[in-house]
């Protein structure tokens, strides 16, 4: 019994030390936000992911790549345009239409030349820059990171990116010197980054009529990026519920068997 208590305490301590990692120094802790996809049963709000896609396309895509996302992913299970009618996302007309809106370099053709053609569902979102050097060159030396995994690549990533996008209005503290091309944001490590506030009230006109407030847009883009970082989240949680249910029942049966077998044995 005593050992059991020690065991529980040890596990708790391990859990705490895990959390302690996240807290790093200097930078302001991101504001906690309640996400539709949080918790064991949380799902993606499809409309929010769609609106987030629109923000990515119309705002972020001019600087940030999204290398790991292919157009077909948008129509796959768990994606924003998943449709029962088109189990094969490559046939999904919305996906085809979005893909066709991009010109993709392909080739070489029979004459050995590279050529451009409209995008296909199997293509990935094209990068805004040909290479990292060009990306830096256009951004005052700073590299806009690829956004496919950004939510996983920062601790408390969803809250962090949302806070970052909303954190530009802060008064610059007196002891902080903001050089040209730098912008103050207390949520960024060190407080100064090369990205100016990418969002502003009404910068996009949502096709579904939602009002494009700062709050709304930052929630939507982060929801989209959360999906992009973990497109199988819903399938994962659904399977998890079934697996846990199965294991619970299995555990109860085995426990009953255990009591039965040990019933007449002193131990």
């Amino acid at each position: 019994m005593k050992m059991t208590r020690i065991f529980v305490a040890a596990l708790a301590a391990l859990g705490l030390s895990g959390l302690a990692w996240a807290a790093s120094s200097g930078q302001r802790a991101p504001e906690h936000h309640h996400w539709h996809n949080a918790g064991p049963f949380g799902t993606f709000d499809r409309e929010a992911v769609q609106r987030g896609l629109q923000i990515y396309q119309e705002v972020c895509a001019s600087c940030h790549s999204l290398d790991l996302i292919k157009f077909r992913n948008l129509g796959e299970t768990g994606g924003p345009f998943e449709s029962a009618e088109f189990p094969n996302a490559n046939d999904n007309p919305i996906v085809m239409q979005i893909a066709a809106g991009y010109m993709i370099e392909d080739g070489p053709d029979d004459a050995g030349d590279m050529f451009e053609r409209p995008g296909l569902p199997s293509d990935a979102f094209p990068s805004p820059f040909a290479n990292p050097q060009q990306a830096r060159g256009s951004n005052g030396g700073a590299l806009p990171p690829d956004l496919s995994l950004i939510v996983k690549a920062r601790s408390h990533g969803a809250d962090y990116v949302r806070s970052l996008l909303l954190g530009y209005d802060e008064e610059v503290p007196e002891d902080v010197h903001v050089a040209a091309g730098q912008h103050y944001n207390p949520y960024f490590p060190g407080g100064l980054l090369a990205m100016a506030s990418p969002l502003s009230e009404g910068i996009v006109t949502y096709s579904d009529g939602t009002e494009a407030t700062m709050e709304q847009m930052s929630e939507d883009i982060v929801t989209f990026l959360t999906w992009a970082a973990d497109p199988h989240m819903e399938a994962r949680k659904q399977m998890g519920v079934m697996v846990l249910l199965y294991l619970f029942i299995f555990a109860i049966l085995v426990y009953i068997a255990y009591r039965q077998i040990w019933a007449n044995v002193k131990h």
């Binding site: 301590a13 030390s17 790093s24 601790s155």
Partner: protein
């Protein structure tokens, strides 16, 4: 406790087999009729749990290796492809990554069990030493596995750890280059780590076979630490312990599944979702949680000891912390196995467990951060008790436990009265 075999082949085939390769007999004697003390508690189920996790790691790892590409510029992306495009790849990847952590949780519990119940004492020294060999192999395997995703923490973790070797006098640099296969962590390092990461689990499996063999000669120890004396002290392994181990394994799998499906990344580090970049060092390089106590010991040695500089001293202390386990059976002078009957040493043991957890905590922290603050200095910066001092204190206790407490207490402590036999302990004729 291996006794005469009680196996009787019943069919023509099993009789034929028994005279040629008595493998069914071996299985029967080892896992069916094996006499097992009747008083084993749940701490004895972790060996079985470990065996299951070894299998989970090997199977999930083999599937991952079918899709993984051990190349500097492709490894990171190939793992994302596994997560995104391979059917159930996200599941296999999550099982393997979290499985490593659960493997280590189980092995730590298994080892602390051994420390508490004196499982390392005669006649189980070899069993214990094989365990320490397994543990070392697990550490190496886990370390090399963590490098494979080729994220920022993979790369810089590998850099920090391999650089430790460079602290060895005279031969350090040469060995480090030999490990790297070049002048830095790079493609050659990744290729060889992948090769070894695939190989070592099978070496572990082989040592586990020896471990179980060494277990089945003296038989299991037990919580009172008194060897079985008569048939009344033991029960056949099957069905009594198959069902008890089975129950424990399922409960452990429930916790495991909760992580695999609902918290797949909390045990990892966010920086490892950034592709490795040799030009940008992360702000805090921390190893996987299961190395943190040793990382803390490494960084606790901040002073030169005679001709040994602080860096080498840290490396020696870190490896010493593990290697000392090899001689543990001869450091503990007490004839009494179980801490149940060692009231004073038992308190030292509990402190030892806390010290290990505390070292883990220090390992995750910046050494100059404060455990608690006491006032401010002239510039208004908080001063107080630094993590590096805390780590030094705990490192001292870690070694003192093995080098002072166990040798001395065995000589001076008066143990409590022990029951005459397991049967007596179980029936309560004597206090257990």
């Amino acid at each position: 406790m291996s006794g005469p075999s009680t196996y009787e082949p019943k069919t023509g085939f099993t009789r034929w087999m028994d005279q040629r390769l008595p493998i069914i007999r071996l299985g029967y004697d080892s896992f069916v009729d094996f006499p097992t003390p009747r008083n084993l508690n749940y701490w004895w189920t972790f060996g079985g749990i470990l065996a299951i996790f070894l299998v989970i790691q090997i199977i999930s790892g083999i599937v991952l290796a079918m899709h993984y590409v051990p190349h500097e510029s492709m490894a990171f992306e190939s793992l994302e492809r596994i997560r995104r495009d391979v059917k159930f790849g996200w599941l296999i990847q999550s099982m393997h990554a979290n499985g490593a952590s659960f493997f280590f949780v189980a092995v730590y519990i298994h080892m602390f069990r051994g420390l508490y119940y004196g499982s390392y004492k005669a006649p189980r020294e070899i069993l214990w030493i094989l365990g320490v060999v397994i543990y070392l192999l697990m550490m190496a395997t886990g370390f090399m596995g963590y490098v494979l995703p080729w994220g920022q923490m993979s790369y810089w973790g590998a850099m920090v750890i391999t650089n430790l070797i460079g602290a060895l006098p005279f031969i350090g640099d040469a060995i480090r280059e030999w490990l790297w296969g070049g002048f830095s962590v790079g493609q050659a390092t990744l290729s060889r780590f992948f090769s070894l990461h695939y190989l070592l689990p099978f070496v572990i499996a082989a040592v586990v076979a020896l471990h179980i063999w060494a277990l089945h000669v003296p038989g299991n120890g037990n919580p009172v630490g008194i060897e079985p004396k008569s048939k009344k002290d033991t029960l056949p392994f099957h069905p009594f312990y198959t069902v008890k181990d089975g129950f424990a394994i399922i409960v452990y799998l429930i916790v495991f599944a909760a992580f695999v499906f609902f918290l797949p990344n909390v045990l990892g580090h966010a920086d490892n979702f950034i592709p490795a970049d040799p030009l940008s060092t992360p702000a805090h390089i921390v190893p996987e949680w299961y190395y943190l106590p040793f990382y803390a010991i490494l960084r606790a040695i901040t002073f030169d000891i005679g001709p040994i500089d602080a860096k080498l001293g840290g490396v020696i202390a870190m490896f010493g912390a593990i290697l000392i386990l090899f001689v543990l059976p001869w450091l503990d002078t007490s004839k009494v196995r179980s801490m149940r009957f060692r009231p004073v040493t038992r308190v030292f043991f509990i402190l030892f467990v806390l010290a290990c957890l505390g070292l883990g905590w220090c390992g995750a922290k910046n050494p100059d951060d404060l455990v608690f603050a006491i006032g401010h200095d002239a510039e208004g910066v908080a001063t107080g008790f630094k993590f590096v001092w805390f780590a030094q204190l705990l490192t001292f206790y870690y070694f003192a436990y093995f080098l002072i407490v166990l040798p001395v207490m065995g000589l001076i402590e008066k143990p409590l009265d022990r029951p005459a036999s397991i049967e007596a302990a179980v029936l309560g004729t004597a206090k257990a």
